[in-house]
């Protein structure tokens, strides 16, 4: 019998999150306060987050215990299954062994509840009764609404209006879980009212939705704010994915040669690969390849540089070290304006800079082609974002076919695309086109990056 699913018993679910900050060969660069130029202190972030999460943000302890009450909640969907993609392997006629850890089987359909429930728990413990957040497509808002129901915390979600109008099912899901979802801009905050006065039909933006969520949080003593990606504590909570996978790969008597995952804010993929990369850092598995995949139209990690940068026009504001094309990059005439950091997790930028992870970008047509092939072999309709890593996994498996190598490829699969079928519809009807980024423009922009002493 070929075993295609590897189940971990609930009693074997990991009880600790893994904190990569303990094992980094070089520590993360400090976050500097834009007002003082000094490293950010826990007090600076206290208006938004409970102290336990702030301490996790800066912790260098290797293992952080998952509270028992939270473990009980995790057990309503965890451990998730590790799959062996035999049918995909057969379709590709490859000697490669393809595994995927699928996070779409939980109640909200993605990896987001791993941190949504943790954030709700710590806020509840600190006596916080309400949480605000923003959501784009609604995945994060859904996960947080479900977490609020579990911990009896009121959830208010500011959803970018254009998505709110397009994805009513996400809003309805949030409401079923008891969350309150309103379109942003709204009349409930000054930031929203100001915008509506200027432009009553404003479709909103993520930036405005965050402003509204933060404003409401700061204006009330019983309310905190939550974020579903980028921050260190968010990535930490996701490491339960990789810790489970390590045990399951052992059951499969396998160890990955390549781990592939898509990166937006970076949280699902980091949750998978951080628990493995410690083997590379320690020298135990020096050849382990970790491949971050991003859309070719928004190449933040594949094409950006990593340097201190300035966020204001006169270059006075010191910021985080990030992948960027530099402060001097104001294209006259406007070229390549899209090439820059747009919200990648600092931990991932740092690992990339240390040469511990690779990054590739995939064009959109082959990306959806991979999504369709995955659906027709493994049955799962993959979300548009994880389709990127399915693409790269298939490409690596095809390389194995050419070389005859039987490499083990592990895909971090963040969730299904049931609310994104319109994107598949466009692919199937031939409406999608590839838009590669001109290399010449990238080189030109990178040449303008200022040299800042660190």
């Amino acid at each position: 019998m070929k075993r295609a699913m590897f189940f971990l018993d609930q009693k074997d679910m990991p009880t600790h999150w893994y904190n990569i900050q303990a094992d980094l060969p070089e520590p993360l660069p400090p976050v500097l306060h834009p007002g003082t130029g000094q490293p950010v202190t826990p007090d600076d972030l206290a208006p938004l987050f409970p102290m336990e999460l702030i301490m996790q943000e800066v912790s260098t302890e290797r293992w952080i215990e998952i509270p028992e009450e939270l473990q009980d909640v995790y057990r309503t969907w965890r451990p998730t299954v590790l799959h062996r993609a035999y049918r995909l392997e057969k379709a590709l006629d490859t000697p490669a062994k393809i595994f995927y850890k699928y996070e779409g089987t939980n109640q909200a359909g993605s990896h987001k509840p791993n941190t949504a429930t943790a954030q709700c728990y710590y806020n509840m413990k600190e006596g916080i009764k309400r949480l605000t957040t923003e959501t784009g497509a609604g995945q994060w808002g859904s996960a947080l609404s479900m977490a609020g129901a579990f911990f009896d915390v009121e959830i208010k979600v500011y959803m970018v209006r254009i998505s709110y109008d397009q994805k009513p099912y996400r809003r309805i899901a949030m409401e079923v879980w008891g969350g309150k979802c309103i379109p942003s801009p709204s009349t409930e905050t000054q930031a929203g009212r100001d915008m509506l006065e200027k432009w009553p039909d404003c479709p909103g933006s993520l930036g405005l939705a965050i402003s509204e969520a933060v404003e409401e949080c700061v204006s009330r003593d019983d309310t905190h704010y939550t974020l579903g990606s980028v921050l260190n504590h968010v990535l930490l909570h996701q490491t339960i994915i990789g810790e489970e996978t390590r045990k399951q790969m052992e059951m499969a008597d396998a160890y990955p040669d390549i781990i592939v995952g898509n990166i937006g804010g970076g949280s699902n993929f980091a949750g998978q690969f951080l628990p493995w990369i410690r083997d590379k850092i320690s020298g135990e598995k020096p050849d382990l390849r970790v491949i971050c995949v991003e859309p070719e139209s928004c190449p933040t990690v594949t094409r950006g540089l990593y340097a201190y940068d300035f966020g204001d026009a006169v270059g006075l504001t010191p910021l985080l070290k990030m992948h960027t094309l530099g402060h001097g990059f104001i294209p006259p005439p406007v070229h390549a304006g899209g090439l820059r950091y747009h919200g990648m997790a600092p931990i991932i930028c740092h690992l990339r800079e240390l040469g511990l992870v690779e990054a590739v970008a995939t064009p959109q047509v082959p990306t959806f082609e991979a999504g369709v092939q995955f659906a027709r072999t493994e049955g799962i309709i993959t979300g548009p974002e994880p389709c990127h890593n399915v693409r790269v996994a298939i490409d690596e498996a095809l390389k194995c076919k050419e070389s005859g190598e039987a490499k083990t490829i592990l895909i971090a699969h963040s969730g299904h695309g049931h609310f994104d079928l319109a994107a598949y519809d466009k692919y199937l009807s031939g409406e999608l086109v590839n838009y590669p980024y001109p290399e010449e423009e990238v080189k030109k922009a990178q040449a303008e990056l200022p040299k800042i002493p660190v």
Binding site: P34, Q139, C202, P203, S205, A313, L319, V334, P384
Partner: protein, 88 residues
Amino acid sequence: MIEQYDDRIIRCPRVGGDVNFLYCRSENNMFPCGWIVGCWQNRIDINKFLEGNYSNEELARIFALPRPKVEGLLKMIDKAKERKKKES
């Protein structure tokens, strides 16, 4: 004409869904999103559009680097505190 491309549709990886050009040209507090060139350059003459509709100062603002998350949040905290102070 600034509205000429408003009905064209693209998938926005940040929002996670379809948006029209109107959204892209107004996403940044009624100014274009900093990613507008990368996303649109092979679909329309985006350079001509930007040069024809925005001043150099505005373009400088549009293409100023976005703030990292934590720094942005700290600024928003300060702004919200100021608003709260004014109201009380």
